[in-house]
């Protein structure tokens, strides 16, 4: 079993709340290969974030199994082999950029080992070499997310989980960060799972797109993205790109469109 190979087998998740049970995820089956970049796309609130959080051991499935390299995510989390970037960068406001990136190293202590990345290299990788001592409030939203990405990579994890990391940013910044993230991913060579609700982002970044239904989340389609790597900004204007976007959009919107036509989904 390759490290970084992810499998979800019959995964379901139901939340119980005082106002009743909410079925967030319903029988999701898929596998992700080592080193692959995969996108989960779906309407807001459909449960795709829940799937991602199960990969990160932040939620537990109520049925089914999640494995990463054959082990449950909990094991990898305890070995700190999972990196996660949240929609809110969540930098500690009293720490500089450098200190924020160093946080996982401090927590891991001695067990960080030699596989930890050098912080200066990471700063260069995310393009923040000029700002090692800046404080979060001095940084723009895009820069804060770069710090968050660097922090997620500092312990050299096997898996990188991204939960709509650029969702709070404007489109232009988002585009630039997408390109930069691809460069970083290519350099680091890690299995990545991105949750997004932007079609263009999903097509631009990933090798495969899992299209998810409205809640409860099910995988309704898998769209392979066979654009050549390394991806360039120019590709976003190519007919092949638009074609894949259209195909993904069709899969994504079909539940809504058939409802609008009055037919059963």
């Amino acid at each position: 079993m390759d490290s970084g190979e992810i499998r979800l087998i019959g995964v379901s998740k139901t939340f119980s709340s005082p106002s009743g049970d909410v079925r967030a995820v319903d029988h999701v089956n898929c596998s992700i290969n080592k080193g692959e970049f995969v996108a989960l796309i779906g309407p807001s609130g459909c449960g795709k974030s829940t799937v991602l959080r199960m990969l990160g051991d932040l939620e537990h499935p109520t049925a089914g199994a999640v494995t990463i390299a054959g082990s449950p995510p909990a094991d990898l989390r305890r070995q700190r082999r999972i990196g996660m970037v949240f929609q809110d960068a969540n930098l500690l406001p009293w720490r500089t950029v450098r200190e924020n990136i160093a946080l996982p190293l401090e927590i891991a202590g001695n067990s960080a080992g030699t596989s930890a990345r050098d912080i200066d290299d990471l700063l260069a990788l995310v393009g923040l070499s000029d700002f090692p001592n800046a404080l979060p409030w001095q940084l723009s939203g895009g820069m804060r997310q770069r710090v968050a990405i660097a922090r997620a990579l500092v312990l050299n994890p096997d898996v990188l989980l991204l939960d709509e990391p650029f969702g709070a940013l404007d489109e232009i910044t988002r585009n630039r960060l997408n390109i930069d993230l691809l460069k970083i991913w290519t350099e680091v060579g890690i299995t990545a799972v991105l949750v997004t609700h932007s079609l263009a982002e999903a097509v631009m970044m990933s090798d495969r797109i899992f299209v998810m239904s409205p809640r409860p989340a099910r995988i309704t389609a898998v769209v392979p993205v066979d654009l050549p790597r390394p991806r360039t900004a120019g590709m976003q204007r190519s007919p092949e790109f638009f074609d894949i976007v259209a195909r993904t959009g069709e899969a994504l919107y079909s539940p809504f469109e058939s409802d609008a036509d009055g037919e059963a989904a």
């Binding site: 990160g56 932040l58 305890r78 999972i82 500690l92 406001p93 401090e106 891991a108």
Partner: protein
């Protein structure tokens, strides 16, 4: 030649300062005009200042016990409340169990507690220190509770993801994020500690500002009364300023500049 631009914060402070000076000036004039004579009820500020300067030695002796009581009570109360807040955050059961008791203690009027404390501990420093500690305890507890709970859910998830221990989360996330709130509580508590110690001296004490105020009142010694009042206010303000200074040293420029609130 460029005009000097005063930034809004400074101009606001300048305006307040001018207002205060204006009030002092009006006070001086009004007092001299409307209530002349050797012992007016509201003496002009200049007379007060000279009085304090003349009686510096006496006043220093009077202030010392109150200062000791307030500072000791403050430190004890603050330490106790921060520890308790940490326990409450960690063990919500303990907080639920004790919350009503704390509300009860908090709503005891000061004048009700002090006689009891004097009955138990006599008229030495102890009752005053206890009162000052109690006055400090509640604001700091509130501040510490809010502060320790102010960490984002997402940040805590990040710590979970990094498999951080409870202690690491406490030290690296909760405590630093709670500092601004704790200092806000301390800023409220410092003057309260002074006030608590002084009131405690009203009942069963022969030294300190509080008892001096009472004696001055009974003897109708107006300048002395004013001098003590002013000293009390100065001590309270000084306590506040010291906390502000400590806050700056500890948190400094790492904190995002706060919006000016009032």
């Amino acid at each position: 030649m460029a005009a000097i631009a005063i930034n809004p914060k400074t101009s606001g402070r300048l305006r307040s300062l001018t207002a205060v000076l204006l009030v002092l000036a009006v006070w001086e004039l009004a007092a001299r005009l409307f209530a002349p004579g050797p012992t007016p009820i509201i003496p002009p500020p200049t007379i007060l200042v000279t009085y304090v300067a003349d009686h510096l030695g006496l006043l220093a002796v009077v202030v010392r016990p109150t200062l000791i009581e307030a500072v000791s009570g403050f430190c004890i109360g603050a330490a106790f409340s921060i520890v308790m807040a940490a326990i409450f955050v960690r063990y919500r059961g303990v907080e639920a169990a004790l919350s009503n008791t704390l509300v009860l203690i908090h709503s005891l009027p000061m004048l009700a507690i002090i006689p009891l404390l004097v009955i138990w501990f006599g008229i030495g420093y102890t009752p005053k220190i206890v009162v000052a500690a109690l006055a400090t305890f509640f604001p700091v507890l509130n501040g510490a509770l809010r502060g320790l709970r102010s960490a984002d859910r997402s940040t805590l998830e990040l710590m979970h993801l990094l498999n951080a221990t409870g202690m690491q989360t406490l030290l690296k996330v909760r405590i630093p994020s709670s500092l601004p709130y704790i200092f806000a509580g301390l800023k409220i508590a410092a003057p309260q500690a002074v006030l608590g110690a002084t009131v405690a001296e009203w009942i069963g004490s022969r030294e300190g500002l509080g008892s001096q105020i009472l004696m001055a009142l009974l003897n109708y010694d107006v300048p002395l009364l004013w001098a003590c009042m002013v000293l009390c206010a100065v001590m309270a303000a000084l306590g506040f300023c010291i906390i502000v200074a400590i806050e700056y040293l500890v948190i400094g420029r790492r904190a995002e500049p706060l919006k000016a609130e009032d």
